[in-house]
């Protein structure tokens, strides 16, 4: 195991985060907090509670999850896309590092950033909304697992993208709608049966539901199913990355 390489990549990526603190940390925290101000403090009090949870508190897990997804993807995809774009990838390809080590560095750093953002959002939310966490250990586990899984997914997008707009494409065109329709703002049990069934094909439903369960003990789908779906997606991403490194897809000619 080339531990020094993992540390070098991780440090390099984290240095980029601190350098771009406003964009990488402050801006996602701020934009998510706007939701708490609007839906938590302002409108939330006039909405009915869902599953016995105040509306302002109900939306917190979904919004945190949404931010985790988009942040993980954009952090990790940019992290690997930029060296490809600037040409510095040559060094990574010619270094004595395995794909596992490259992943640990890039995905580890991207996930770390997301976790920091997630925790900051939770702290900020506390100022506007009164919420509690019933299963803190599970909450942290979901937080970490999701960050890692979607950083991996972001890594794949960063390898696949051949332009800056493609980097934006997936978070904006896929993740945002899936998160909004996946129960960030409502329980999917409130939907008519047909839409409820369709929604079950949305993978983000399982993430949000599991995460919300760790807060309030209520879930749209069984927690075990949530966990299994997340793990499944993680495995799919790992398989894709393994294939990328094996074939050199978009990395080597």
């Amino acid at each position: 195991m080339n531990f020094y390489a993992v540390r070098a990549i991780y440090k390099f990526e984290m240095a980029r985060t601190w350098r771009t603190l406003m964009q990488s940390i402050a801006s996602p925290v701020l934009s998510t907090s706007l939701y708490f101000i609007v839906f938590g403090s302002a409108i939330g009090s006039r909405m009915v509670a869902i599953d016995g949870v105040e509306y302002g508190a109900f939306i917190i897990p979904g919004l945190v999850m949404f931010t985790l997804l988009t942040q993980s993807i954009s952090n990790a995809s940019f992290g690997i896309y930029f060296p490809r774009f600037s040409g510095t990838i040559y060094e990574l390809l010619s270094a004595p590092v395995s794909f596992v080590e490259i992943l640990m560095g890039y995905v580890g750093a991207a996930a770390t950033k997301s976790i920091i953002v997630g925790i900051l959002i939770l702290i900020t939310a506390r100022f506007f909304v009164d919420y509690h966490i019933e299963h803190p250990l599970w909450m942290v586990s979901f937080l970490i697992l999701t960050s890692i899984t979607f950083s991996l997914f972001g890594f794949i997008i960063g390898v696949w993208a051949d332009g800056f707009e493609k980097l934006q494409l997936i978070p904006l065109m896929v993740i945002t709608p899936l998160a909004f329709l996946g129960g960030s703002f409502y329980s999917i049990n409130m939907l008519p049966p047909i839409w409820h069934t369709i929604t079950l094909f949305n993978p983000v439903v399982y993430l949000i539901s599991g995460f919300r369960w760790s807060f309030y003990g209520v879930a749209d789908v069984n927690v075990a199913v949530s966990l299994a779906m997340t793990a499944l997606f993680l495995l799919l991403c790992l398989a894709a990355v393994w294939w990328i490194f094996k074939t050199g897809y978009r990395l080597k000619t």
């Binding site: 390489a5 070098a8 990549i9 390099f12 980029r16 600037s86 390809l93 010619s94």
Partner: protein
């Protein structure tokens, strides 16, 4: 002695069907400076990129210090340093952190003293805290060299290291390369400056259209393929070369003032004496003479032309 780099039957076809390397066989000796010459698009960078792991090999095998560069990439790559042709740098990083990063990436523990030594040797020490985008092109190239040296490689690839580097620094760089060789580092460089190869290399390989045309010691290459020329400056200008002398490889200058006699260096009988005698018989006197040996550049141009001619 086992070659430090051994390339066997290496071919490479890029996606799109372009064949960049054709059955390349090449051995690099331990501790030598090897210059790889060839015109634009000959396949130099492709060859280096395959050895270093940046480009997938087609068929064939490459060993670095006995390690297969694909199957035992870790062992192979950890002893190799690469300075790429393209100036790709992390614009926002400082010189120091970029060079330290490379060392870590190659699996070496932190060693500030070594990084300091490398930066000083490359006259980058004053710039260590500058961001790379604040450097000039020649400095950026030196940052790439520093990155390649950060992990103390045993084999160093320099893909056109002196492109865009000023004359004085080029001299410094040559000294540095010689210094590395004296420490036992094997150096493979490509260049378009023939005088660079002539000055530095122990051995030279010429590649053209993906094929190795020749590999030889610099000295014997120049001897074998080099031509000598004897130029005679005449007392009286000539209209034309006399019929009787036409069987000799003689050429008359446009103004008729000089006769040039070309002969191969390695041939036993050069025929100089005979030519001079015959000139004398025809009453052609000369006031001065000058002899020259062909430079590597001419040899190189001839080789590449020859290879091109074969195909036409």
């Amino acid at each position: 002695m086992q070659p430090v780099i051994s390339v066997r039957h290496l071919s490479k076809v890029y996606e799109g069907g372009f064949q960049a390397l054709k059955d390349v066989n090449l051995d690099i000796h331990r501790g030598e400076i090897f210059a790889l010459l060839g015109p634009n698009g000959a396949g130099k960078t492709t060859l280096i990129s395959i050895i270093c792991g940046i480009v997938n090999p087609g068929s064939g095998q490459v060993l670095a210090d006995g390690h297969d560069v694909v199957k035992e990439y870790r062992a192979a790559r950890s002893i190799i340093g690469l300075v790429p042709q393209e100036l790709s740098t992390d614009a926002f990083e400082s010189v120091w952190s970029a060079v330290s990063f490379s060392r870590g990436l190659y699996g070496k523990p932190r060693n500030d003293a070594h990084i300091e030594k490398v930066l000083k040797a490359l006259s980058l020490w004053d710039k260590r805290n500058n961001r790379i985008m604040e450097l000039s092109g020649g400095m950026k190239r030196r940052v790439l060299i520093a990155k390649a040296l950060s992990h103390e490689p045993r084999i160093l690839f320099l893909d056109e290291p002196t492109a865009g580097v000023d004359v004085e620094l080029r001299r410094d760089m040559w000294d540095m390369v010689r210094d590395l060789r004296s420490q036992g580092v094997t150096i493979i460089l490509t260049t378009h400056y023939i005088e660079e190869a002539e000055e530095m290399a122990d051995r030279i390989g010429v590649i053209n259209k993906g094929e190795i045309v020749v590999v030889d010691e610099k000295k014997s290459l120049m001897q074998k393929l080099g031509k000598k020329q004897l130029t005679l400056y005449l007392q009286q200008p000539l209209e034309a070369i006399p019929e009787a002398l036409s069987r000799h490889p003689l050429a008359l200058s446009d103004d008729g003032q000089a006769l040039t006699f070309t002969f191969d260096v390695q041939s036993e009988a050069t025929g100089i004496a005979q030519v001079l005698r015959e000139l004398n018989q025809h009453g052609i006197d000369f006031r001065d003479l000058h002899s020259s040996e062909s430079s590597l550049e001419e040899i190189f141009v001839n080789l590449v032309k020859g290879a091109r001619g074969d195909r036409v």
